[in-house]
C-alpha cells in the first residue's frame, strides 16, 4: 500500500526553506535596494534636469542677444548676485540661489524651483574684451556617497547673436 503523503511541510523542509530564504534575502537585498533607489532618484534627477534645461535655454538666448551685461553684487541672504542682461527687448535680471533661479523683466517674474540644484556662475572678460558667462549646475542627491553630484557646465557668449560670422556653416 502506498504511504499517504503528509498534508503540511515537514520540520526539515521548513528549516531548509527558512535557511534558503535568509540566504537569498541576504544576496538580493542590496540589488533590490539599488533598483528601487535608482528608479526614484532617476525620476527626481530627470524632472529637475528638465527645469535646468529650460532655464539654460532661455538664459542662452538672452545672453547671446545681450548688448550689455553687468553684475550687481548682492547679499547671499537675498539669493546671491544679480545678473542684468540688456538686449533688444529690454533688460532681464537673473538671480541664482541654492534650489532656485529667478528671471525678472519688469513686473514679469519667472521662477524655477529645483531643491537639489545649486548654481555656480561667473561672468568673465576675454583678452579682446568679449564677455562670456560660464555656468555650472550641480544636482546633489543623497546616496551612499560614492558618486559625485550630477554636474553640468555651459558657456554662453555675450552678444554672439550679432556676430556676422556666427554659424555660417556648421556640421558635426
Amino acid at each position: 500500500m502506498k504511504p499517504r503523503r503528509p498534508n503540511a511541510f515537514l520540520l526539515n523542509e521548513m528549516i531548509l526553506i527558512i535557511a534558503l530564504l535568509s540566504v537569498l534575502m541576504m544576496l538580493s537585498g542590496e540589488p533590490v535596494r539599488i533598483f528601487f533607489g535608482s528608479v526614484l532618484r532617476s525620476q527626481l534627477v530627470f524632472s529637475q534636469q528638465d527645469r535646468v534645461e529650460t532655464l539654460l535655454s532661455q538664459l542662452r538666448t538672452h545672453t547671446e542677444q545681450a548688448a550689455a551685461v553687468y553684475v550687481q553684487p548682492a547679499d547671499e541672504r537675498l539669493g546671491g548676485d544679480l545678473l542684468y542682461l540688456t538686449g533688444p527687448d529690454g533688460t532681464v535680471c537673473y538671480q541664482f540661489s541654492a534650489g532656485r533661479a529667478v528671471c525678472s523683466r519688469g513686473d514679469n517674474v519667472q521662477q524655477w524651483d529645483m531643491p537639489q540644484v545649486r548654481f555656480d556662475w561667473r561672468l568673465m572678460t576675454l583678452p579682446d574684451q568679449s564677455q562670456i558667462l560660464a555656468i555650472t549646475t550641480f544636482q546633489q542627491h543623497r546616496r551612499r556617497g560614492d558618486l559625485p553630484a550630477f554636474r553640468g557646465s555651459y558657456v554662453f557668449v555675450v552678444n554672439l547673436a550679432n556676430n556676422h560670422s556666427r554659424r555660417i556653416l556648421e556640421y558635426d
Binding site: 530564504l21 539599488i34 576675454l126 553640468g152 558657456v155 557668449v157 556653416l169
Partner: protein
C-alpha cells in the same frame, strides 16, 4: 432557507476547505519559486545598472558637446578659445584640441575651426568633434 439547507451548505463548505488544505506546495516547488524570484531580481538590477551606465555615457557626451560648442562660440566671437584653466575648471574630465585651417574653394575667405573634445568615462573613451567656418579676425 430552512435550517436543514443551512446545515448542508455549511457541511459542503467545510468539506471544500478540508480538501483545499490538502493542496499545499511541495518543497521542490518552493525552491524553484524562490530561485525564479531571485533570478528575476538579479536580472532587473543588472538591467537597471546597465541603463544607468548608458545614461552616464550619454550625459558625458552631452557635456563634451557643450564644451566643443563653447570653444567654437569663443573662437567665433573673440578669435581665441577659452583659457585652458577655465576649460579645466568647467569640464575637468575632458581635454580639448583645436585645429584651425584656411578654407578652400567656395570657403576660401573663411577659416575652418575644428574642435575635438575627448575624455574617459567609466573606462570608455568619449570623443566629440565639431567644426565651424569662421571669418578671419583680421578681415573683420
Amino acid at each position: 432557507m430552512t435550517c436543514e439547507m443551512w446545515k448542508r451548505l455549511l457541511q459542503k463548505l467545510h468539506r471544500m476547505n478540508s480538501r483545499q488544505r490538502q493542496h499545499g506546495w511541495l518543497m521542490v516547488e518552493m525552491v524553484v519559486a524562490l530561485f525564479v524570484i531571485f533570478t528575476l531580481t538579479a536580472a532587473l538590477t543588472t538591467i537597471t545598472l546597465t541603463a544607468g551606465k548608458g545614461n552616464r555615457m550619454l550625459w558625458a557626451r552631452r557635456q563634451a558637446l557643450a564644451a566643443a560648442e563653447a570653444q567654437l562660440d569663443c573662437l567665433t566671437q573673440s578669435g581665441a578659445p577659452l583659457p585652458e584653466a577655465e576649460f579645466k575648471r568647467l569640464w575637468p574630465s575632458f581635454d580639448c584640441t583645436i585645429e584651425i585651417v584656411a578654407g578652400t574653394g567656395s570657403t576660401a575667405q573663411l577659416q575652418r575651426a575644428q574642435v575635438t573634445v575627448a575624455g574617459r568615462v567609466n573606462k570608455k573613451k568619449i570623443c566629440v568633434t565639431k567644426q565651424r567656418y569662421i571669418i578671419e579676425r583680421e578681415a573683420q
